[in-house]
């Protein structure tokens, strides 16, 4: 069934529909092996100011093969549009791909995205030639607005970052999927492969997972499990998942007027 079913973002094809974040792993070695086991082709990193008093040690980029993975810098830490644009420009100047996972999260407890600043930043970044993948709350109208300014995907959250609660926003994500003309990636909150499968069954195009893999007892094993969950959900979606049954409503015949015609 659907042997060639690539994820296409901004004209670029990916065989894997699982995007993996690199935060919270115990070591770069475990992270590298987990990336490998996940078969992901898109890997996110953040950018931070170097502590000049404590340099030395390996760099994370030594563990991410740029020929194998698309490096997707995020703008985490940005409190407003201006900061997000600044971070994206830095990453591009340093030779990273002109792709950016746009995150503007001024709210410190749940790291919820700011819709107004996100839209502003998205518009500026698209104009600046970036391929923009914005992280948003599951807001269908915001998703359309971002699509209109030229974003390559929309990335609604399943639940709060790191919460592992699964896809609590499913009703709104369903509407986003129904209306979207760009790929929909569920980002944040997926705590188990079954959550990833559930999202994919709904018809989302890809998922982004980080915490659930990184903090698992065996991150490498969990990365492989997520790969299977994503694949299972995608295949179920393509196969046409049978739906729950409505309860029928008893009423007088509605087609009686057709008798004799």
């Amino acid at each position: 069934m659907a042997s060639h079913d690539p994820l296409v973002i901004a004209g670029r094809e990916f065989a894997s529909r699982l995007i993996v974040g690199t935060g919270k792993f115990g070591s770069f070695e475990v992270m590298r092996d987990a990336l490998e086991a996940s078969r992901t082709e898109i890997v996110t990193v953040a950018l931070r100011r170097v502590d000049l008093e404590a340099t030395g040690g390996p760099d994370i980029l030594e563990f991410i093969d740029p020929d194998r993975y698309l490096l997707l810098p995020n703008t985490s830490g940005a409190m407003d549009a201006e900061e997000a644009v600044r971070i994206a420009n830095l990453a591009r100047a340093a030779g990273m791909p002109a792709w950016v996972k746009l995150e503007v999260t001024p709210e410190p407890r749940y790291l919820l995205p700011d819709p107004v600043e996100t839209l502003k930043a998205a518009e500026a970044l698209v104009k600046g030639g970036f391929t923009v993948l914005p992280y948003i709350n599951a807001d269908p109208v915001l998703a359309k607005r971002l699509e209109e300014v030229g974003c390559a995907t929309v990335m609604p959250l399943g639940s709060w970052i790191g919460s592992n609660k699964g896809i609590r926003t499913c009703e709104a994500v369903q509407i986003i999927v129904e209306q979207a003309t760009v790929p929909v990636v569920v980002d944040a909150g997926l705590g188990a492969p079954s959550h990833a499968a559930e999202a994919m069954e709904m018809g989302v195009d890809a998922v982004l997972v980080n915490t659930a893999i990184a903090i698992a007892g065996d991150p490498v094993e969990m990365a492989g499990a997520f790969r299977l969950g994503v694949e299972a959900g995608r295949r179920a979606f393509l196969a046409g998942k049978p739906a729950e049954r409505d309860v029928a409503e008893a009423s007088s015949p509605l087609t009686g007027f057709l008798e004799g015609t």
Partner: protein, 66 residues
């Protein structure tokens, strides 16, 4: 000559480049991202971008993140 790197003053020799500074603080230029006086600096220009008195530099790197 004094410049400000990541918020702290630092002495560099006359004629030093951005790349000299990166190596001096113990970093590998291929993994460092630089903002020079508020402008993103392309990596290929690290070796030619000369520092002048009072320059402000931000040295940034990729770190783990989702």
């Amino acid at each position: 000559m004094r410049v400000v790197a990541n918020g702290k003053p630092r002495e560099v020799g006359p004629g030093a480049t951005v790349e000299d500074l990166i190596r001096f603080v113990g970093l590998d230029p291929q993994y460092v991202i630089v903002e020079h006086n508020g402008e993103a600096l392309e990596r290929k220009r690290y070796g030619e971008a000369r520092l002048t008195e009072g320059d402000r530099l931000e040295l940034v790197r990729a770190v783990a993140g989702g």
